[in-house]
Each structure stands twice: as structure tokens, then as C-alpha cells.
């Protein structure tokens, strides 16, 4: 809607008000005219005041005063003798006329003033409501982008502007605008700075040609801007605080890593050092069985050390978000088989039952990372479940996901620990009783989540079960069908 149109429409509505006022006066005059013989002149004058009050109350001072003047004339013309002239003979009628005019004008003005007061009170209330809504919406926001979004939305809703842009300056400047299009090609009609105690944080730009932005609206938008400034400062303070918390947390974590690592790394190192130095000392005979035992210890502990370092690397990669699965279509039974094959010598004291059907579809996973998950889950089970017990690995397709369960007959985990056992360095038992970095399960969690899956632990009737689910599709697709190949050589 352009400017001329807006103006036109308000002019027309104004004209209608006058027309309606005249019609009302005219119809009442006709009524009084019919009843002229039975009604007293003074009574007519009094009765005329009613429509005048109504007109002013509904359509404002202009139509009210105009109607008062017209009524004054019609009253004189139709109802004061001699009829159909504007002359007045009787002195009493002059008094009636003058009093009528004064009363009519005064009533019009009083009613109009009361109306204006009411309108202002309503506008104030609306402003107050809008401000209240804004401050309610801004409460508890800790994100400057959300603040900008809400402020821009409220400014647009209140001002009915065609375009609103919210610019924030500072260390990380950004802009938010409504609607999601490019701004109009011209300069904004109103720019309100967002002023805070420590300087200007940004500005609100408003594009609205018509109706022209009133000073009241400007004031309201300035109030909005200062509310916005407060909310922004609050958000930034909250962010700074949470950053400080993260730093504190990572500091705590680092010392936890250091203590865990130095403890865990030193154990295999001590074994290696002891074995190597006793082999060098020549106190162990060339043919003694102790010699090969020492050599085996060095070899095993070096592998163990390598695994620990690998776990730490994995963890740091998961922490930094650098763990990106290199997905390929893989066969789950193959992965499980390869892990169990490698862990054979570790699992001699346990019985491992595998129920991973050949008919399972291919799954889109990183082969190495998936091996890592199975290795960690199985070695965790081997570590906690007593010898001669059964460890079961089971996989099924459920709800278009693959569901894998690794369960053992080891001790159950108290309910409140079930979720936390996937946290870094979290142990249910004290660290001295079991070896390991305390990272195995959190690495599993990191890998499974990087694959878009979920992992959890639950107590089962005879022990503990680890479960995870993984999507069967990759970018929404299933594996390519194999080309037919039936001929034989």
C-alpha cells in the first residue's frame, strides 16, 4: 500500500464519519419535526443534546462541533417561531438558543477529551503489554542470536514494518532480519541504536513508509532497544561464564587424564623395564624358562602400552570432533569374527557365544572404528565378568536399525551408574582393582554417536548388557545391489 492510498483511505473514513453524523441529525430532526406540536421547544433542545453526545463519543470532536452548529441552525429554523426563518422573536427563545449552543459545544469538548484520554490510556496499556511481552520473551535467553531474533520479531509485530534488521557489532558481529529476503533498496526509515552502559552494541533498522513513524512509536522502539541491550549483555555474560566453566572442566579433565595416564602408562613400563634390565644383567641364563617368560612380558606389555596410547589418541580425536567415520558397506559377522579372532588368546578363560546371523544386511560403518567398539565392549566384559562365564554377542534388525547386544555374566551396575559408565575416566570400582584407562566405553560412545547411533547399558537377569543401535541406511540409501554373477569356471 503506498502513501497516497493510505492518505486517501483515512480521508474517506473521515468523510463517512461526517456523513453519518449529518444523517443522524437529519433523521432526528425529521422525528422532532413530526412531533413538533406535542413537544416543547426546551425539551427538543434538551433531546438534541443526546445525538450530539453520541456523535462526539463515536466520531470525535470535528463531527461533534460541526453537528452542534448544524443542530443549532436546524433547531432555530424548524422549531423556533417564526418557523422556517433564522429570526427569533421571543427573548426567551434567544436564551434557549444561546444556552443550547454553549451546552452543545461544551458537551462535545468534554466527551472528546474523555475519549482522547481513554485512547491514550489504551495506547499506554498496549505499550506496557508489548514491553512486558518483550521482556518475558527475553528472560532466560543465553544466546545473543536468539535475543536478536526475538527482538526483531517483536519490533516487526509492533511496528507492522515491512522489513526489520537487527545488527549486532562487537567481537562476533552478526545480523538478523525479517522477512528472510534482501532489505528494500532504500535507506531504512528509522534507525534505533542499541545502547548499553559500555557503548553501542548494535542497531535496529526499520523500514516502514506508511503510516509515518510517530514519536510515540519511536519512543517505544527505543525502549525495546534498551531492553535488547540488557538482554544482549546478559547473554554475553552468561556465555563468558559458561566458557569459564568449560575451561575449568577441561582443566579438571586434564589433571584426571594426567593422573590416569601416568598411573596406567607406568604399569606396563615398569614391567618392560624390569624384564629388559634383568635380561641384560645376565643373571637369567640363556636357556632358563624365565628368559622366554620375560621376553613375552616385554612383548605383551609393549602391546598393552600401544593400546593405551591408541585409546588416548582416539579420545582426544572424539573430544575435538575429529573422529569422522570413513563409512563403507560392511558385513557385521566379518567384523565380529575378526575382533574375536584377534582376542582369542585374551578370551581363553571365558566362553564367547556369537549370534550374529549371516542374513543381516550390510551396514554402513567404519570398519576399524567398529572393530574398536567390539574390542572395547568385549574386553570390558572379559575384565569384569568372572572366568568360565559366558559372553554373548547378538545382533538383530529392529525398526530399520541394527541392534547389537554384548552381554556378560559379570556384576551388575547400580542403576544410577548405568549412564555414567560411558563417561571418561568413570569407574564403578576403584581404579586400583582393574587396569585400563577408563576410556574404553566412552570411546565406544563417541564412535557409535559419530555413526548416528546410540549406546546404552542395562542390567540383565544374570549380568550386564551393552546395547547399541546403528542406522541401516547411509545418506538415506541402502547398498547397491550386486551385479549378477552365476557362471562358473
Amino acid at each position: 500500500m503506498n502513501f497516497a492510498n493510505m492518505r486517501n483511505s483515512s480521508f474517506i473514513s473521515r468523510l463517512w464519519q461526517y456523513l453519518l453524523a449529518f444523517l443522524l441529525i437529519a433523521s432526528i430532526t425529521v422525528l422532532f419535526f413530526v412531533l413538533r406540536d406535542v413537544l416543547d421547544t426546551t425539551l427538543i433542545a434538551l433531546l438534541y443534546l443526546i445525538p450530539l453526545g453520541i456523535i462526539t463519543a463515536y466520531w470525535g470532536l470535528g463531527p461533534g462541533i460541526t453537528s452542534a452548529l448544524i443542530t443549532f441552525l436546524t433547531f432555530n429554523y424548524f422549531f423556533i417561531e417564526p418557523y422556517y426563518t433564522f429570526t427569533v422573536h421571543r427573548a426567551a427563545d434567544v436564551v434557549v438558543l444561546v444556552v443550547f449552543l454553549i451546552v452543545a459545544v461544551v458537551i462535545s469538548q468534554l466527551v472528546a477529551r474523555a475519549q482522547a484520554g481513554l485512547a491514550m490510556a489504551m495506547a499506554r496499556e498496549r505499550e506496557a503489554t508489548q514491553l512486558y511481552e518483550l521482556s518475558t520473551a527475553l528472560t532466560g535467553l543465553h544466546d545473543d542470536h536468539a535475543v536478536a531474533q526475538i527482538l526483531a520479531r517483536q519490533v516487526r509485530a509492533v511496528s507492522q514494518g515491512e522489513y526489520v534488521e537487527f545488527n549486532v557489532i562487537g567481537t562476533q558481529p552478526f545480523a538478523f532480519h525479517l522477512p528472510e529476503t534482501n532489505p528494500p533498496a532504500r535507506a531504512p526509515e528509522l534507525i534505533v541504536p542499541i545502547q548499553a552502559a559500555r557503548g553501542i552494541l548494535g542497531e535496529i533498522q526499520l523500514w516502514r513508509t506508511a503510516p509515518t513513524i510517530s514519536s510515540g512509536e519511536k519512543r517505544l522502539l527505543q525502549t525495546f532497544a534498551s531492553q535488547g541491550a540488557l538482554a544482549l549483555e546478559r547473554a554475553w555474560l552468561a556465555q563468558a561464564e559458561s566458557r569459564a566453566k568449560v575451561l575449568e572442566e577441561s582443566d579438571r579433565l586434564k589433571s584426571a587424564i594426567l593422573s590416569s595416564v601416568s598411573h596406567e602408562l607406568r604399569t606396563p613400563l615398569s614391567t618392560i623395564k624390569a624384564a629388559a634390565s634383568s635380561l641384560r644383567s645376565r643373571e637369567v641364563g640363556w636357556d632358563s624358562p624365565a628368559r622366554s617368560e620375560l621376553i613375552a612380558a616385554i612383548d605383551d606389555e609393549a602391546d598393552h602400552l600401544n593400546m593405551l596410547v591408541g585409546n588416548l589418541l582416539d579420545m582426544s580425536r572424539i573430544e575435538s570432533g575429529a573422529l569422522k567415520p570413513k563409512r563403507e558397506w560392511n558385513i557385521l559377522p566379518e567384523i565380529v569374527g575378526s575382533v574375536l579372532g584377534r582376542m582369542k588368546h585374551l578370551a581363553e578363560e571365558h566362553q564367547i557365544e556369537v549370534d550374529v546371523p549371516e542374513s543381516l544386511p550390510l551396514i554402513p560403518v567404519d570398519y576399524i572404528q567398529m572393530e574398536q567398539v567390539f574390542t572395547n565392549l568385549v574386553s570390558n566384559s572379559l575384565k569384569y565378568a568372572p572366568a568360565k562365564t559366558v559372553i554373548r554377542i547378538r545382533a538383530r534388525v529392529e525398526n530399520e536399525m541394527i541392534h547389537v547386544q554384548v552381554s556378560n555374566q559379570g556384576p551388575q551396575v547400580p542403576r544410577e551408574h548405568l549412564e555414567r559408565i560411558f563417561d571418561k575416566f568413570y569407574r564403578v570400582t576403584s581404579a586400583d582393582r582393574v587396569t585400563g584407562t577408563g576410556l574404553g566405553l566412552s570411546i565406544c560412545k563417541g564412535i557409535i554417536e559419530a555413526h548416528g547411533g546410540r549406546i546404552w547399558a542395562e542390567n540383565v537377569s544374570d549380568g550386564l548388557a551393552f546395547n547399541f543401535i546403528l542406522p541401516l541406511t547411509w545418506n538415506g540409501t541402502m547398498p547397491t545391489q550386486l551385479p549378477m554373477d552365476v557362471e562358473t569356471e
Binding site: 558397506w329 566379518e334 565380529v336 569374527g337 574375536l340 554373477d485 562358473t488 569356471e489
Partner: protein
């Protein structure tokens, strides 16, 4: 002693160089060492070794590049040394012409086995390729296209046979997914590792004693496959 195989080791870690030199000299190899890529390339050109052991993480240049520069003029076997989790670089180096890889830390047995395979393969390249490959009970006759397990002939589809034949004629060496796919299916299918997974599984079922714990067709996680034949 002078016709003992000559091995060039390029690695920037002195301890690794020391350990490899000690063990290889012990095994009657001649050993030259270099701690930088450029130095290694110069020594390779000057001495024409029979085998190069190359670390991927060198201070002056990328090991993959050393590999590519060597391949510009020589076909001598190259064995890559790398740390865990650098599958991408390993595959890149293998695709650039490296013959095999070892992940640090590695056992010396493994290193010696890889060296033997690489040297045997390079000598075979010069002579006639073996016609029959034996792996445990399995006999693969590459000339007559016959595969036997014990005395029984194993029925293979055409694709399965081509796959097995490619693996067997490169036995002992690692073959990347891409190279197997390109060789057996064609270059346009080089990304379809799922074909490989399925066919390898079928092959294992037909040939291995326990397909879940294969002894002959081994998976090299993240890299490819390796066929282990009798020495």
C-alpha cells in the same frame, strides 16, 4: 656378502633406525639409512638398493611424495612404515606404488616377513610368475584355472575366480580395495567396496576352514586384503 640384498631405510627417528639396522644386519642384509626424504632419494639413486623401507612422517617431505618420486624411475619394492590411524596416507602411498606397509609399533618378525615377500615378489617380476599357489589345503592352478581344497575341486564363479587369482598371484602383499576393484570389476566400480565384502565372504566360505577366522584371505582393516600362501 656383497650380493646380499641391499636395503635402504628412510626414517627420522634414530631409535627406529638403530633397531632396524641392528636386526637387518644380523639377518645378513646390507643396510643404508637416511633420516630425511631428500637424502633418501639421493641415496636410492646412488646405491640402487633392492628394497626401500620408508617412514611416512618425514621432516622435510611427505612420504607419499617420496614414494611417487621413487616410482618415477624404479620398480624396487617399497615398504611403508606408519603410525596407527593414518589409513588414508597408507592407501595413498600404496596407490602411488608402495608394495606393503607396517604399522608402528611393529614386531620384527612381521618386518622380516614383509621384507621377504617384497624381495621374492620383485625377483619373480623379473623371472616367470609361479603357476601354482599353495596355501594350506588350498591349491590354485593359475594356468589351468583350477582351485582345489584338499583333493576336491572348488566351484567358483568367474568373478570369484578372478578375485582369488588376483589375490593369489600377489600373495603375501597387501592389495588395496581400490586396486582389487579396479582389477577385478573395472575402474568404474573402484568405489564399490560392498562388492568386495560380499565376494570375499563367499570366497572365505568356500575356501577357509573357519570363515569367521580366516587364515588365508586376511582383512587389512581400512586398507584392503592380503592372501597368505605357503612360503
Amino acid at each position: 656378502m656383497s650380493n646380499a640384498p641391499h636395503i635402504l631405510v628412510i626414517d627420522d627417528e634414530p631409535q627406529i633406525l638403530r633397531a632396524i639396522r641392528t636386526i637387518l644386519t644380523e639377518k645378513q642384509f646390507r643396510v643404508t639409512t637416511a633420516s630425511r626424504g631428500e637424502e633418501g632419494l639421493t641415496l636410492a639413486a646412488a646405491n640402487e638398493p633392492d628394497l626401500v623401507i620408508l617412514d611416512l612422517g618425514l621432516p622435510d617431505m611427505d612420504g607419499v611424495e617420496v614414494c611417487a618420486r621413487l616410482r618415477e624411475w624404479t620398480q624396487i619394492p617399497i615398504i611403508i612404515l606408519s603410525v596407527r590411524d593414518s589409513e588414508r596416507e597408507k592407501v595413498a602411498a600404496l596407490d602411488k606404488g608402495a608394495d606393503d606397509y607396517l604399522t608402528k609399533p611393529f614386531g620384527i618378525e612381521e618386518l622380516l616377513a614383509r621384507v621377504r615377500v617384497a624381495l621374492r615378489h620383485s625377483s619373480r617380476m623379473q623371472g616367470t610368475p609361479s603357476k601354482v599357489v599353495n596355501a594350506g589345503q588350498i591349491t590354485i592352478d593359475l594356468a589351468w584355472h583350477i582351485v582345489k581344497r584338499g583333493n576336491e575341486e572348488v566351484k567358483l564363479t568367474g568373478r570369484e575366480y578372478r578375485l582369488l587369482a588376483y589375490l593369489a598371484s600377489n600373495h603375501g602383499r597387501v592389495l588395496t580395495h581400490q586396486s582389487i576393484l579396479a582389477h577385478v570389476w573395472g575402474p568404474e566400480d573402484a568405489d564399490h567396496t560392498e562388492y568386495l565384502r560380499v565376494y570375499m565372504r563367499q570366497l572365505r566360505k568356500k575356501l577357509e576352514i573357519d570363515p569367521e577366522r580366516p587364515q588365508y584371505i586376511l582383512t587389512e582393516p581400512g586398507i584392503g586384503y592380503r592372501f597368505i600362501a605357503d612360503e
